[in-house]
């Protein structure tokens, strides 16, 4: 088996996705089948290969240090589910480190 129920639960938790017991069973089976399929990659020898994370050969893309106009605060906050004085509002965070 490529992945078990506990691993799915742990992973879902990392991703902040809460699963019911039923979903957990369901997903474990599906993900296990997908990962079993993916295992075919193990038949290849990849030791001396460079990973491709960028498909184009590009480098040194940058901008110069110029200030551009920001959004008005009212636009920034426009979509917020909860707000107060142009600040985003969320439930209280317990630890108060800066």
């Amino acid at each position: 088996m490529a992945i078990n129920r506990d691993a799915v639960k742990y992973t879902a938790n990392l991703a902040n996705i809460e699963l019911s017991d039923e979903e957990l069973d369901h997903f474990t089976g599906q993900l296990d089948r997908i990962l079993a399929y993916v295992d075919k990659l193990n038949t290849l020898n990849v030791t001396n290969l460079e990973p491709t994370s960028h498909v184009l050969e590009m480098k040194n893309v940058y901008r110069e240090d110029f200030v551009k106009k920001s959004l008005p605060a009212s636009e920034v906050i426009k979509n917020a589910p909860d707000k107060e004085n142009n600040l985003f509002k969320v439930p209280k965070i317990i630890d108060t480190e800066a």
Binding site: V8, N16, E18, F27, V38, L41, V55, N79, F88
Partner: protein
């Protein structure tokens, strides 16, 4: 005349002769939408008055832009300022971005008329447009069937004459496969050709925006309109965009086309196979030299894709957390509770599945075995194409192993669904351009698509082959009866 049934380039001719106005086109489109949309469900957000308003405002101007008032629909994952942009997901409920995607700025600058947003698989996760929070879009050729995905809404709208032009996005075939099963033209540009700024990311190293249109000439017009370097996108290529129209009309005599054997193996529908074979003969008749070849690592593409794409997606979709925009459920007790509840209620099953899969592939202890290995095999897949393009001007394959399947047929079996992308995925992994054009129909009158893959930044070549084929066949003229 039903203006909505015409191509963009034909409408531009009529507009230039002042035979018609953009309002006429818009009205025809609206009529069609009012008639067909209840069966089709191709659109995620459409406001008749809003569209007419934009059209009227445009008519006051000189209308000199290259798109001169042609209406266009936008996939729901491309940001349009102050318009709903939700990726067909509950988690982006009510989200109106404060900015335009670069492609939208370009379209507005060229006087296209933004009509509304098209339905899609949630966050582009799917091949059938069944995972949308707005319900599935139906295939105009058979309402019991899927329109492909994830740009199913865009393909269905163009196919059903609800739209002249549409934009889709393609991460693993999401433009080409729906174009194929809806009988229209869809083009995925080279990675870096079109700015991704404002495209809500699924897999950042694979995503590209591209046109979905009724014929190849329209695809060329729309591609040119949206292409080009953008300083807001670090992965955007600084390579000049040719005026495709002159290049694509050249003959294809003497062009060398590769036919990779891996794309004609088991599991493929006989009718599809036969159509592709006839298409290859047609291309030979037109003077192209077709030759069998091999892309030996094709069989690994689906595996690589579902690791790379989901890994990137798991990170890209972390931001949907209830803080700044979109859904935030009631009765939240704490930050942890807010995250969990928002994402539980906001994401559909497929999104959850892919986020978990991608998170797993990146997690400590599995990174090397899954994600890193996938990136290495990606190198092999890219090399396959590099080798092939030393010999060939383009590669010819089917777009999809089957015609449109039935709604519900694969939705409960993710792996089978994933395998329906088997012919389109490699192009995204290698970053190369690909186009799907109609090349036949099944006995039950479902469209079949031909895929042409080209060298990086040689969209002109695949458009040229597609144009020559199209001009010598009648498939693109067929329209579904709705």
């Amino acid at each position: 005349m039903e203006l909505n049934t015409l191509t963009g380039h034909r409408l531009i001719e009529l507009l230039d002769k002042k035979d018609i106005s953009p309002i006429d086109i818009c009205n025809n489109i609206i009529n069609k939408i009012e008639k067909a949309e209840k069966n089709l469900n191709a659109l995620a957000h459409f406001d008749k008055e809003n569209s007419l308003e934009r059209c009227k405002n445009l008519s006051k101007t000189a209308r000199r832009g290259a798109l001169r008032g042609i209406p266009i629909f936008i996939k729901d994952n491309i940001c349009v300022k102050d318009e709903l942009t939700t990726c067909s997901s509950k988690i982006l409920k009510g989200f109106k971005p404060p900015y335009n995607a670069t492609v939208i700025e370009k379209l507005i600058g060229l006087d296209a008329v933004l009509m509304g947003k098209t339905n899609m698989d949630e966050f582009a996760f799917g091949s059938s447009t069944e995972t949308s929070c707005y319900g599935p879009t139906r295939n105009p050729w058979d309402l019991e069937r899927i329109p492909g995905g994830s740009s199913g809404g865009s393909a269905a709208a163009v196919s059903a004459d609800e739209a002249i032009f549409a934009l889709g996005s393609d991460t693993g075939g999401s433009i080409r496969q729906p174009a194929s099963v809806c009988g229209v033209v869809g083009l995925k540009p080279t990675y870096g050709r079109v700015s991704r700024y404002g495209l809500i990311a699924f897999a950042s190293s694979l995503d590209q925006i591209g046109p979905i249109t009724k014929d190849v000439e329209d695809a060329a017009i729309l591609l040119r309109a949206i292409s080009g370097h953008d300083e807001m996108d670090s992965t955007s290529a600084n390579i000049p965009v040719p005026d495709y129209m002159s290049g694509i009309k050249k003959s294809i005599k003497g062009l060398r086309l590769g036919i990779p054997k891996e794309y004609f193996m088991g599991g493929m529908d006989e009718e599809v196979k036969n159509s592709i074979k006839s298409a290859i003969e047609k291309l030979e008749n037109l003077g192209a030299v077709c030759e069998n070849t091999s892309l030996p690592h094709t069989e690994y593409a689906v595996s690589v894709y579902y690791l790379v794409a989901t890994a990137e997606a798991s990170s890209n979709l972390a931001r949907f957390d209830g803080v700044q925009y979109g859904l935030r459920p009631e009765n939240i007790k704490s930050i942890a509770n807010m995250y969990k509840k928002t994402r539980k209620e906001g994401f559909g099953d497929e999104a959850k599945r892919r986020i978990i899969l991608g998170t797993f592939a990146l997690s400590s202890g599995y990174y090397d075995a899954y994600y890193l290995k996938a990136l290495k095999v990606r190198t092999l897949i890219k090399k396959d194409f590099d080798e092939a393009f030393k010999k060939f001007d383009a590669i010819i394959t089917p777009t999809s192993p089957t015609a449109a399947f039935k709604i519900g047929e694969k939705i409960s079996d993710p792996l089978t669904m994933y395998l329906s992308d088997i012919f389109t995925i490699s192009a995204n992994l290698a970053g190369i351009p690909g186009i799907s054009i109609p090349c036949g129909f099944t006995k039950s009158n479902l469209p079949i698509g031909l895929q042409i893959l080209g060298k990086p930044f040689d969209e002109e070549m695949i458009l040229r082959i597609a144009y020559n084929y199209e001009q010598n066949t009648e498939w693109h003229k067929r329209r579904p009866q709705l």
